[in-house]
C-alpha cells in the first residue's frame, strides 16, 4: 500500500506540491496526468525518495518513507526517470543484472541469474542481451530499462514518462507490456503520462494534478469527460468514444 498524506514541496518559496494526498490502488495501473508544471514528476520523485519532501508523509507498506533504509526500499519500489541516459558502456545483460543489486550486493546467485534471464525474456531482449546500450535504438533501450526494473522485482514500479521518445509502435508495445505486468504479475504501476489518450486506453485509475494540487481522481470513465478535462487543461476539448475507448480530441 502506498499512501501519500498532505505532502508538500517548495522550491525557493514557491510551492510546487501543495498538501497532496493520494492513495495508490494496488495491482492497478495509475496515471498521473495534468499540464506542464503541475508537479507530477516532483510528486513521483518524492514518492520514490529521489528528492526529500518539505512536509507531510508518504507511507509504503505500513512504514514512512524516510524511516526506510534506502537498500530496503530498493526491494519494494523501483523508479525510472525520463532522463535515463547512461553514459557508461554496459551491455543489456550487465544493465539488467544490476537490477539484482539490492538483493545480491553485486554477487549474483543462481536465483539472481534466473531473475535476470526471466526479465530479459519477458521484454524480448534475448537477441540483444550482449549488445552495448549505446548501440540500441531508443525503444530497445527503454525496454532494457524496464527489464532492469523487472529484475529488481519490486511490487511497486514508478515510471516518469515511459513513452518519452518512443514512436507510435513502440509506445503501444511499451503500454502493452506495462499492462501485462499489472495483469499477469500483479505489479502496481504509477506513471506520469503526457499523452492523455494513452493514459485513457491503458490505465485503470487516473489522478489529475494542476498547480501542485490534485484536482480530481478516479477511474478512466470519471476523468475522461469533457468538463473534467477542460478544467484540468484549460482547453476546449471533446471526449468521444471510439471502439469502446474514450479518446480526447484536442486539436
Amino acid at each position: 500500500m502506498v499512501e501519500v498524506k498532505q505532502v508538500l514541496k517548495r522550491y525557493g518559496g514557491k510551492t510546487v506540491i501543495d498538501r497532496v494526498s493520494l492513495s495508490v490502488p494496488r495491482c492497478k495501473l495509475t496515471s498521473l496526468i495534468g499540464p506542464n508544471g503541475a508537479g507530477k514528476s516532483t510528486l513521483l520523485s518524492m514518492m520514490s525518495r529521489l528528492i526529500p519532501k518539505d512536509g507531510g508523509e508518504i507511507w509504503i507498506e505500513g512504514k514512512e518513507i524516510a524511516r526506510y533504509r534506502t537498500e530496503e526500499l530498493a526491494k519494494k519500489i523501483s523508479i525510472l526517470k525520463q532522463s535515463n541516459h547512461i553514459a557508461a558502456r554496459l551491455t543489456v545483460n550487465e544493465l539488467v543484472s544490476f537490477g539484482r543489486f539490492p538483493y545480491s550486493r553485486g554477487r549474483l546467485t543462481r536465483q539472481d541469474r534466473d531473475y535476470v534471464r526471466e526479465a530479459i525474456r519477458y521484454m524480448e531482449l534475448e537477441p540483444l542481451q550482449d549488445r552495448y546500450m549505446d548501440e540500441l535504438s531508443g525503444g530497445q533501450r527503454q525496454r532494457a530499462y524496464i527489464a532492469m526494473v523487472l529484475a529488481q522485482d519490486t511490487d511497486y514500479i514508478f515510471l516518469d514518462e515511459p513513452l518519452n521518445n518512443l514512436d507510435m509502435k513502440h509506445a503501444v508495445q511499451m503500454m502493452k507490456v506495462l499492462r501485462k505486468l499489472v495483469d499477469e504479475l500483479g505489479k502496481t504501476i504509477v506513471m506520469v503520462m503526457h499523452d492523455i489518450n494513452f493514459a485513457s486506453c491503458y490505465s485503470d485509475y487516473m489522478v489529475a494534478l494542476k498547480d501542485g494540487e490534485v484536482v480530481c481522481e478516479g477511474d478512466v470513465s470519471s476523468i475522461m469527460r469533457d468538463e473534467v478535462l477542460r478544467g484540468i487543461y484549460d482547453l476546449d476539448v471533446r471526449v468521444q468514444t471510439i471502439e469502446n475507448q474514450r479518446i480526447c480530441v484536442y486539436f
Binding site: 520514490s48 525518495r49 529521489l50 533504509r69 534506502t70 537498500e71 530496503e72 526500499l73 530498493a74 526491494k75 523501483s78 523508479i79 525510472l80 526517470k81 532522463s83 535515463n84 547512461i86 553514459a87 557508461a88 558502456r89 554496459l90 551491455t91 550487465e94 544490476f98 537490477g99 543489486f101 539490492p102 550486493r105 553485486g106 552495448y132 529488481q152
Partner: protein, 315 residues
Amino acid sequence: MKKWMVLLVVLAAASLFVGVHDLSPRELFAGDREAWEVFLISRLPRLISILIAGSSVSICGLIMQQLSQNRFVSPTTAGTMDWARLGLLVSMIAFAAAGPLVKAAIAVVFAFAGTLLFMTVLDRVKYKDSIFIPLIGLMFGNIVGSVTTFLAYKYDLIQSMSAWMHGDFSVMMQGRYEMLYVSVPLMAIAYVYANRFTIAGMGEEMATNLGVRYRSIVYTGLLIVAVVSAVEVLTVGTLPFLGLIVPNIVTMYYGDHLRKVLPLTAMFGALFVLICDVFGRVAIYPYEIPIGLTVGVIGSGVFLYLLVRRTKQYV
C-alpha cells in the same frame, strides 16, 4: 588477455636486467653480493614502483571517469595532481620538520578537497559538453600550479618542486619507494567497490533506485583517488595523462562494467608504464629519458586523438 599478462611478466623480468650497471641472472644465481645489492636496492624497487604506480594511477582515472560520467576526467585533467603538489609544498613550508607520512596526509587533504571542488563545479555547470569539462579542470589545475610555483620560489623550494613535476623512476630506490605500497590495499578496496562505482556512474537517481548511497560512494572513490595521487606525486612524481589514456583504451574495447575492466586497467596501466620506462632506459643509453616525459608525450598524443575522434562523432 592472457598473452598481455605473459608479456607483462616477461617484460618485468627483463627490465630487472636493463640498466647502466651490468647485471645478469647468472651473477644472481652465483650469489654475487654486489649484484644482489644492485638488484635489491635499485632494480627491484624500481620495478615494483612502476607496477604499482602504473596500475593504481590508471585505476584512479577509471574511477574518476565513472563517477563524473565523463571520459576526459582523470587525476591530471581534474587538477588532482596539482592540488596534491600544492599540499606537499604547503606541508614543507608549514611543517618542515614533519615526516613523509604527515606530508603525504596533507597532500591527500588538498587533493581530496580540490577534486571534490572540481566535481561540485562539474555538477553545477550548465554547459555539459564533455570536452569543456576537462578544459575547466586543466585550467583550474594550472591556476593551482601557478600558486604552487609562486610559493616555491618565495620559499626557495623550487628544487624539490621539480621532482614532483616529472615522474622519474630512476630515483626509486630502497627507502624511497615504500610509501607506494599504500596504493595496494586501495586498489583492493576499489575492486570491492567496483559495482557500486558502476552504479554511481549511472547517475544519482539510478543509484538511489538501486539502494546505493550515491554521495558516500562518490566520497569513497575520491578518497582513493586523492591518496593514490598524493602518494604518487610524493614518490614517483607526476605521470601525466596516464589515468586518462589507459582506462579510455581499455573501456573502448571491454565496456564500463568495472568489476570486469578494473583488473584489465590495472594490468594495462602497469604494462604501459613499464614499456615507457624500458624505452626511456634504452633509447639514449647510458642516459635516461625521464618517464614523465615519455608518458606525457605519448599520453597527450592519445588525449588529442581521443578529443578529435570525439569531435568527429558529433559532426
